[in-house]
Symmetry: none
Subunit: 222 residues, 4 copies
C-alpha cells in the first residue's frame, strides 16, 4: 500500500491547507490553470519550488528533472519531456516568466563533474547530464577531484546553458523579443536558504539577500 507517510501527509493537507484553500481549488478546477510562471527545477527532495516560493495552487507550472536542465531544440529522437512541457507552458499557457533554478549539492552536477560510472547499462544519467558539457567548456578543467566551488560554478554555468538552449525554441525567442516573456536564472543554497538570482544585464548571480534582510550568516552559499 501507499506509504503511511503519504497517507498521513495527505490527511494533514486535507484537514488544513485544502480546507482553507478549498474555494481556490474549486475555482481552479472550474476555470483551468492560468499560471504566469514556469519553473524548471531539480528533482532533488530538498528544493520544492512551491515551498521555496511559498506558492499556492495555480501559481507555478513546474518541470522537475535531474539538474534542472533545458535541452536545446531538436526534433530527432522521439520523446522530449522537458521540451514538451516548455512548449505547453509557452504556447498553451502563455507564461510570462521562465525561471531555471539550480541548487547546491546537486547530485546530477556532481555526477557529471566527477565523471561517475554509469548507474545502469542504459546510462541515462550520463547521457542526460551530457547536455551540460558545453557549460563545462566555459570553465577551466577542475582536474580529477573537483572542488565544491567548482561544482557551484558548473551549476551556474549549466543554468546559463539552459537559458541559451531556451532561446533555440522559436516560440521562446519570439515572445522574449516581443517583451511578453522573461527568462531568469536562480540558485538555491540548501544549507543557508540563500537564493542567488541572475542579473539579466551582466549575467552574474547575486544574493537576493539585501532585499529580504538575510542575516550575514546566510551569505555563505554552500
Amino acid at each position: 500500500m501507499i506509504p503511511d507517510r503519504l497517507v498521513a501527509g495527505y490527511k494533514s493537507f486535507l484537514g488544513d491547507r485544502f480546507s482553507r484553500e478549498r474555494q481556490r481549488y474549486e475555482v481552479l478546477a472550474e476555470s483551468g490553470q492560468n499560471p504566469e510562471i514556469l519553473i524548471i527545477g531539480c528533482c532533488d527532495s530538498r528544493v520544492s519550488p512551491e515551498v521555496i516560493f511559498d506558492a499556492g495552487p495555480g501559481e507555478i507550472f513546474v518541470v522537475r528533472n535531474v539538474a534542472n536542465i533545458v535541452p536545446p531544440y531538436e526534433t530527432n529522437g522521439q520523446f522530449h519531456g522537458t521540451s514538451a512541457a516548455l512548449e505547453f507552458a509557452v504556447e498553451a499557457l502563455k507564461v510570462r516568466h521562465i525561471v531555471v533554478m539550480g541548487h547546491a549539492s546537486c547530485g546530477g552536477i556532481r555526477s557529471f563533474a566527477q565523471k561517475s560510472a554509469p548507474l545502469s547499462s542504459g546510462d541515462f544519467i550520463g547521457k542526460w547530464m551530457s547536455i551540460i558539457a558545453p557549460a563545462a567548456d566555459t570553465l577551466d578543467d577542475p582536474g580529477d577531484n573537483p572542488s565544491d566551488n567548482y561544482m557551484m560554478r558548473l551549476n551556474l554555468a549549466a543554468i546559463e546553458q539552459s537559458l541559451a538552449n531556451l532561446m533555440t525554441f522559436g516560440s521562446v525567442r519570439r515572445r522574449v523579443s516581443a517583451g511578453e516573456l522573461q527568462l531568469h536564472g536562480a540558485y538555491f543554497g540548501v544549507a543557508t536558504g540563500l537564493l542567488l538570482v541572475r542579473d539579466p544585464e551582466t549575467g552574474r548571480f547575486a544574493p537576493l539577500a539585501e532585499d529580504v534582510g538575510t542575516p550575514p550568516s546566510l551569505l555563505r552559499c554552500d
Copy 2:
C-alpha cells in the same frame, strides 16, 4: 527581474518555514538527501506533490513532466530526462516507493484525447503524449468529443501504462521482485481534494476517503 510574486514568496519562506526548519535544511545539506519516495507527477500548477502530501524537505524526490508519464526503457535517442531521474532515484538513492500521480483536468491527457493540433512545428507535446497511445487502446473509442468521464478513464489507463513502463527497467523489476521497491498509482481530484489510490491487487482506483474521514460530498471525482 525575477517576478515580485517570487520575491515575496521567497521572503515568506525564509521568514517562516525556513526559519522553523533551518536545522533540517542544514543537516540535509551536510548529509545529502535520502528520500524513500519518488513521485512522478504532472507539471500542472495545481498539483504540487509537496503540498498534497504536506511533505518537508528531504522526503520526496519529484519528477514532474506533462501528464506524469514514464516512457518505456529505450536507449536509442540521446536524452531521456524521466528515465535519467528514475535511474538516479532507483540506483543511487534506492527509493522504496514510486508513486505515479495523475490528476483531474490534465491538459496533456485532454490534448491527446482531443487529438489537438500541434502547438509548434516541433510538436513536442504530440510526440510526448504518444507514449500513452497503448493506454488509449485499452479503452473504447470515445469518438470526436470525448467526455470528462472518458478523460478520467484515459488518465487512469495512462497511469497503468506508466506502471507497466516502469517494469521495463531492469533495475525496477529486480528491486520489486526482491521486495525492496513498491510501485503505486494515485489520482488527485483538483476540485474535491479527493485522492484515488490504486489497489495493487485489483488494479482498481478507490478513494482514500474512509481513511481520512472525507465527507460524502468529496466522493465525486471531477
Copy 3:
C-alpha cells in the same frame, strides 16, 4: 578531365592574382592561417563571401552549407561538419567575429517554405532544413503559397535561429561574455547588391547603404 572553365580560371588566377599576391601566399603557407573572421554562408553560386567582401587569402575562414545554417550544439549523431568547423574556428583559430550571412532567393529557404517533396529517399535537404523549423514558428503561417516577402522574413528569422544556436556552444558563450568574440547577422540581396546588417541591440536588419552611398535604387531587397 577537369572542366575547361576551371583550367582557364586557374590560369587567370595564376597569371594575375597569384602573381601579385604571391608573397602573401608564401607567408601564409609558412606561418599558417590566422583569420579573425568566420563567415557561415550559403553554397549558392552567387554569394561568395570572398567576392562580396573583396577578401584576400588568409582573411576569412569560410563555412558554406545550404542556407547558411548553424545547428544547435548536440553530440548525438556522429558527423557534424558545421559544428566541427565552428569548433576549429573558435577554439583553434580564436576568430573574433562570426558572421551568419543569408541571401535573397535561397533555394534551401524556399524548399522549406514550400514544403517541397524530398529530392531523394535520404531526404537530406528536408532534414537539414528542419533546423529552421523553430524560426518559422516565430512567423505567421504563410499559407500554401508563401510570398517572396515571407521568404525573406523567414531567411532573417533563420539567421536569428543560427545566432541563438551559436550561443548553445560553450566556447562561443564564454568568448562572447569575455568580449573576445562578436556575433553578426547579414543578408545579401543578389539582384541589388544591397547588404542588410543586423543591429545587435535591436535585432533588426538595416541596409549598410548610407555607409556606402548606395543609390536609392539599390534599397529594394529582392
Copy 4:
C-alpha cells in the same frame, strides 16, 4: 558592429566588381542560379574556390567544410549538411562536375595525423575527421611524428575517400554511369600556387603545370 574590414571590403565590391557585373547579378537573381560545377573545398581562409578559379557569380556551387570531406551516404542521424548540399547540387541543380579540392597545410588533416586532443568536450573535429580513417588505413603508419610528406599523402588519400563516398550516393552513381556527371580531385599548394589534378584513369595527382606554363620552381608541392 560588423568588422571594419568587411565594411571596407563590401564598399570595394560594390564600387568595383558589383558595378561591372551588375547586370549579371540581376539576371542571376531573376533566372535563378544554374551552376555546372560543385566544388567541395576546405574552410581554410587561403583557399577560396572563387579566387583560385577566378570564378564569377553563378559559376560554382560551393560547399566548404573542414578538410573538404564528403561523408558516406547514411541516414541515421538527423542533420547532414554536406550530404544535403550534395543532394541539392545533384538532384535540383543537376551539376555536371564535382570537384573535391584539398590543399597543403590543412589543419584538419594535421589534427587527424597528429591525433590531436579534442578541442572541446564535444570533440566535433575529432568525430568529423574520423571520416578519413579508412583513407589513413591505405597508408603506412607514420609513427608519432608524421612528416609533411605523409600529411600530403594522407590528404590525397582523403580525397580518394571522398570520391569513393560520393559514389555511395545513388543519385551520383546513376548520373556518373549515364555520363551526365564527372567526379574530380584537386589539391592546391598554398605556397606555390600549384594545382595538382587527379588523373581519372590512374588515380594519380599531377600538376596542371604544363598547361599553364608554371615555372619549374613551382613544381614543389609544399
